[in-house]
């Protein structure tokens, strides 16, 4: 195949063919479903609140503080913020050095750069030493329309294979506010996926007493026909899909699993073992190596074998485009989640 033959061909399109004028956007706000309040920069504000109480906390970013909400921290506490420049390897190794000297570094970049470019440094300088470096990364999975250079669709698979690493995929602003102090309290490295900008508040709307607990899966919604086991913002999709399914008299439970590693296998097995329900995992990640495979392995190892399906991104480099278009195309939209579950029942 020649290079030229790999190029896409231009096909003239009428304005109507472009749909409703959606544009490529990296903004997380476009993820919010109707009816959810949003919170501005929940990570940055949670970190400032915590840093006021904990002097060991410092923040570092590799030229992406504005795009990881760390600018809120940098503005509030400029002497505790390190601008590391566009250099992810030294971002991580310097964070490891700061941790060696007793600090609690929160290092931010995009998930693609942490998982792909800085991996060896996270593995050897941080994880092998079990140092308390907290790596917080924006644009997880399919949360930008910029294409594979920015879409970290395999980061959970990469970090799940890394010993000592704790992995969090928060659903919403409630999770982010709760995970920051939990990350600091955990004596070891943590990789957290981040939703930034205006982030919807989802979990407390469905379950007012919800509080993030590191390592714990929590049942957000009861239901007798389907159990959706979900992580990240796919819990929001699952909850919205459950409401859509309810209109069809399908009763869907939603088990939210914000900590992907270590997995709360006890809760997952207890829920999946409640007989008769179809179990569906849902994640904003490749179907390879993420929550779905982790849950599948847990079930198989334990001899709990309900009917089981997975909702995840395909094992492919994804298209560029507008996020709502892409979420529909790859099955992460509420409509697509509900449609597939109906088809499996």
């Amino acid at each position: 195949m020649t290079l030229a033959s790999m190029k896409r061909k231009y096909e003239p399109r009428t304005p109507a063919a472009r749909g409703d004028g959606l544009t490529t956007s990296a903004m997380i706000a476009s993820l919010a479903a109707e009816g959810y309040d949003t919170v501005a920069a929940p990570f940055g504000h949670a970190l400032v609140d915590l840093a006021r109480k904990n002097e060991r906390i410092v923040g570092l970013s590799a030229d992406l503080s504005k795009y990881t909400d760390l600018h809120v921290f940098a503005q509030a506490m400029p002497d505790r913020f390190y601008q590391m420049g566009m250099a992810e390897q030294v971002l991580i190794s310097a964070a490891a050095g700061l941790a060696r000297e007793g600090f609690l570094p929160f290092a931010t970049t995009y998930a693609v750069f942490a998982s792909r470019r800085a991996y060896d440094f996270i593995a050897m300088a941080v994880a092998e030493e079990n140092l308390p470096v907290k790596i917080v990364c924006a644009l997880p999975g399919l949360t930008t329309g910029y294409g594979p250079s920015h879409q970290a669709t395999e980061d959970l698979a990469i970090f799940r294979g890394l010993p000592n690493m704790t992995i969090i995929d928060p659903c919403c602003a409630d999770d982010i506010a709760g995970m920051v102090p939990a990350m600091a309290a955990h004596d070891g490295p943590v990789y957290a996926r981040l939703l930034r900008g205006k982030v919807p508040r989802v979990l407390t709307r469905h379950k007012p007493d919800y509080k993030f607990q590191l390592g714990k899966a929590q049942l957000i919604r009861e239901g007798g026909d389907v159990l959706i086991v979900s992580t990240g913002f796919m819990t929001m999709r699952a909850l919205d899909a459950a409401e859509a399914l309810a209109a069809d008299k399908v009763d869907a439970a939603v088990l939210h699993v914000p900590t992907v590693k270590p997995l709360d296998t006890a809760t997952i097995l207890a829920e999946a073992g409640k007989g008769g329900r179809l179990v569906v995992t849902a994640e904003n990640h490749s179907i390879v190596g993420g929550l779905g495979e982790a849950v599948a392995a847990t079930l198989m190892r334990s001899g709990v074998t309900p009917r089981f399906r997975m909702i995840a991104l395909p094992d492919a480099f994804l298209e560029a485009g507008a996020l709502p278009t892409l979420h529909d195309m790859y099955g992460l939209s509420v409509a697509k989640v509900a449609e597939r579950i109906r088809g499996w029942l």
Binding site: Q83, V90, A94, A95, D120
Partner: protein, 284 residues
């Protein structure tokens, strides 16, 4: 207080003799395993002797003392040399020498922080030490701790992009408490470093990056000591680098002349011969 000031009579031991002792211990460890990065150990012994018995402040009985100068071994495969100097400094008991590289030993072939007292980091994935040193130097500054961070790296690591990320970062953050030691023996796994990425005069690169830069003969004790003194005493917040030109297998002539010295092959009968050669040159 430097440790040698507390060690009484042996305080008078010359740095040359310390270096000889380091070489001797490294050869004994190599003989235990029948292999090892002995060429590097013999080459860097003078720099290690001057570091641990002239430049660094530490407490042998308390290797994690907060006031210590940190010494990072980015080049994990030089562990055999660092174990030798840690024993010489009284941080590791000398009787453990016989366990080098064995199962359950605290002295694995590649240095790891969790195994060995006095081993500050897990090196070995080359190109990581300087970045960790940057973070430790940032942390020491933040704590108001006046200790230095030394990072020992190799000329091969000059090919890693992460080295230069760290080099820029050290200048950006004004890390005058960071002293980078480059062992320039012009050998890496596949051949000469100057035939790979270390072609351009290295001093010019470090100067251009904004570092206080020196290049000296790393097997000339007076030159090594002078360079370490100047690096410590330099004013301002520029990080400091010393490039040490060293000879692989220094001190054992029949090994020095072997063509491939990155992983020098020493035949079983040659260890005793090597020690004998070393013995002939034992300084007082």
């Amino acid at each position: 207080m430097r440790p040698d000031a507390r060690l009484g009579a042996i305080a008078n031991m010359s740095l040359e003799r310390r270096a000889w002792n380091i070489r001797h211990k490294a050869l004994r460890m190599g003989e235990v395993q029948g292999q090892g990065y002995i060429g590097q150990a013999l080459g860097i012994a003078d720099v290690l002797a001057a570091s641990y018995f002239h430049a660094l402040d530490y407490r042998p009985e308390d290797p994690e003392w907060e006031g210590r100068d940190r010494f990072l071994l980015s080049i994990g495969h030089y562990a055999i040399a660092l174990y030798a100097v840690l024993m010489e400094a009284g941080i590791l008991p000398e009787e453990e020498l016989e366990t080098y590289g064995m199962d359950d030993s605290r002295m694995p072939m590649s240095g790891m922080a969790s195994y060995t007292p006095g081993m500050e980091i897990t090196g070995g994935s080359l190109g990581q030490g300087l970045g960790i040193a940057v973070g430790m130097a940032m942390g020491l500054k933040r704590k108001g701790n006046g200790a230095f961070v030394y990072n020992l790296m190799s000329d091969g690591e000059l090919g890693e992009g992460s080295t230069w990320e760290a080099a820029m970062s050290a200048v950006q953050h004004g890390l005058g408490n960071l002293i980078n030691l480059v062992d320039f023996n012009d050998q890496q796994a596949d051949g000469k470093s100057t035939a790979a990425l270390a072609r351009v005069p290295e001093e010019a690169k470090w100067v251009a990056f904004g570092w206080h830069t020196q290049r000296v003969d790393g097997n000339d004790m007076a030159a090594v000591v002078g360079a370490l003194d100047r690096a410590r005493a330099a004013s301002g917040d520029r990080p400091r680098v010393i490039i040490f030109d060293t000879t692989m297998c220094k001190g054992v002539d029949f090994l020095e002349t072997r063509e491939i010295t990155h992983f020098v092959r020493v035949e079983p009968d040659e260890w005793a011969k090597a020690r004998a050669v070393l013995d002939e040159g034992m300084p007082q």
